[in-house]
Symmetry: C2
Subunit: 395 residues, 2 copies
């Protein structure tokens, strides 16, 4: 007798933005990094991936994934296959111990996933994507593994995904083992420790996609003569410094280290051969604006950080919203994105003192903003993207 | 009886553009660098400073300098004073040995200097300026010192000036002595060894002056955690590599090391705190254009390098003029500067294959070009900028 039931589990997972950057792999298959990194998990109200994992005896064909309405080729994705293989093995272990459990590990998986932010925003969605994929399948399989243990699997999908399996302030410990078994995520502090952290993302209309990060990282590892010092000494010192700043809720140290590490990361990109440059004149204008706001405040009230693209992420704490986000809202009132939970209350601040050239560059280059904050980890929800008959729901 | 004669000597001195960059002082008073550097001396037909040094018993008041028609305050310039003091001491030594020599060391100096290129070009003129100042006074004083010995004095005026006392391919040896006595220029190869070297300078209309190099250097030395590896290991290795490339006339190695070292220098600037950024979107477009030209050629036929500003200097050898400079002439036919000795013969090349975005950025951002070549060192000339009565000549 065949089991006609469609098993489903749905999870949302967050985006994270690193303040100590991951750039360089010491093992490209296992996604083992050259250095530890640390990120702030962002609120899922603004940015999240929603993924339903489902399986059924009635599903025919291989595992499949529909992402934002498009069928993805996961058969040829080694990274996705590594995650699925690991999760199935864990399910098989449970099934082997308890013969009454349905043999989900033998069924095809049907995965349906959707982001609540436009792909055009140029935000790396792979971290939230793989965190949601791993978490939803782990829930479907009723796996007993902790988020930290699941981070080992998510890491193989996308390095930074290992930091999206938890909320708050999350470290990815580089580890030293060859098999990667100690290269995992660790909570540095939960959201509740320092919930006032805010992030304003300036989304820059890029003319074209830059160097993909996987290829770029390997170019840096292979060619940058400045990079070894970063991997070996500079990042470990900064990890210790920023973890203490987070524990102490010392925003000034947090801000300085965040900006220095972003600059250091882009420095080793520029030092690569051929050179990799993600920062544009618009990015530089955002840096200039942050410097001006900090100068005017007489202390560091905001910090910029840039990933592998021109978008600026600006961290600040809630009490400085007017001093920081207010200045950007004053100059960019008409771009999309201010009408969010975290953005609506921000009042335009006309006393920012930005140079007119900076303002003009931002006005011409910023296509939207995202107002968000530190947030929690993946959450199980009931809004499934696969219906009870196993059909993908339109999003 | 007073000596009413006006003594005069006039020299021209060249600009040099480093291919291994000087960025960082280990001693700010003596201008001792954190690393050796190497430059190409550029032809004085395009870029030179002309300086007349004169002295007379009849001159009253302190030493003076008129630069491009404007009186400069050299009394409060420690760097200029250090040069003048050193040169006077050497003259005094001669006068002490031979009582028949006129006591020029006791007379006030009247210096008049003019550049043959607009200050607005944003080219560092201090190297040519101090080289001309030192050479003209040394000639006036009939000093027996060699160019290398004079480089010790010019270095105290402006670090990179020590490389402008010689022509061709010039190294500035960092040295190790605390008194700076071994921090001097050395000819790596004369112009005649590799006279085919050409330089195309894309002068970028900068919106504002960036961080001055003296202040920037010290920020980098004090704050960049990536810089020590550059000073200690990376530059020494590159010096050896590029000197061999020059001896072998191996343009491909010369080009790669030149580009890598420019990128490394700008990387440690970005890694400084606060960060220093000289490259703009126009600079990036120039990098992109050079990469495209090289890709099309199937080998490195040109190399970019950037000093403390957005201007691109593009080195290539004469036989590749059409492949390199021709591409830029094709896209920037209307900017000033193509009608020089080295520029007039370049034929526009319509097959460059530059991306339209790159072309547009260059068209909007490049205000003039300078077509030049490797050239000789300072030269004594008879076109004095001070007349026989001691009066400055209008330039």
């Amino acid at each position: 007798m065949s089991d006609s039931k469609v098993y489903r589990s749905t999870t949302t997972a967050p985006v994270n933005i690193a303040v100590i950057k991951y750039w360089g792999k010491r093992d490209t298959t296992l996604n083992l990094p050259t250095n530890s990194s640390l990120s702030v998990t962002l609120s899922q109200q603004s940015l999240r991936t929603l993924t339903t994992a489902s399986c059924a005896d009635s599903y025919s064909g291989p595992d499949s994934l529909i992402l934002n309405g498009e069928e993805e080729d996961i058969q040829s994705s080694k990274r996705t296959q590594a995650c699925l293989k690991n999760l199935r093995q864990l399910r098989e272990e449970i099934e082997a111990k308890d013969a009454s459990m349905p043999k989900l590990s033998k069924m095809s998986l049907r995965l349906v996933s959707a982001n609540n932010f436009p792909t055009a925003a140029g935000l790396a969605s792979s971290a939230a994507g793989f965190a949601a994929l791993v978490r939803s399948i782990a829930d479907l399989y009723e796996l007993p593994q902790t988020p930290q243990q699941l981070s080992l699997i998510a890491r193989q999908g996308s390095g930074s995904a290992c930091r999206s399996v938890m909320g708050g302030y999350v470290a990815w410990r580089s580890g030293t083992m060859e098999d990667g078994s100690d290269s995992l995520a660790e909570e540095v502090a939960p959201v509740s420790h320092w919930p006032e952290m805010r992030a304003l993302i300036l989304v820059v209309s890029a003319d074209k996609k830059g160097v993909p990060s996987t290829a770029g990282m390997q170019t840096t590892v292979a060619t940058s003569s400045l990079a070894p010092a970063r991997f070996k000494d500079i990042v470990p010192a900064r990890m210790a410094e920023i973890e203490k700043a987070i524990h102490d809720k010392d925003f000034e140290t947090f801000a300085r280290v965040t900006m220095q590490d972003s600059n250091s990361f882009h420095a080793i990109c520029l030092d690569s051969w051929p050179p990799i440059q993600y920062l544009t004149d618009v990015s530089r204008a955002a840096i200039n604006a942050v410097e001006t706001v900090n100068r005017k405040a007489g202390k560091l009230v905001c910090a910029y950080t840039f990933d592998a693209g021109p978008n600026a992420v600006i961290y600040y704490v809630e009490e400085d919203s007017h001093k920081v986000a207010g200045v950007f809202k004053n100059h960019l009132p008409n771009v999309a994105g201010w009408d969010s939970e975290f953005g609506a209350a921000i009042k335009p601040n006309e006393t920012g003192g930005l140079e007119s050239k900076t303002v003009m560059t931002l006005k011409n280059g910023v296509s939207r903003v995202i107002c968000t904050a530190v947030g929690g980890g993946p959450e199980k929800v009931d809004t499934h993207l696969v219906d009870e008959s196993g059909k993908a729901v339109e999003v």
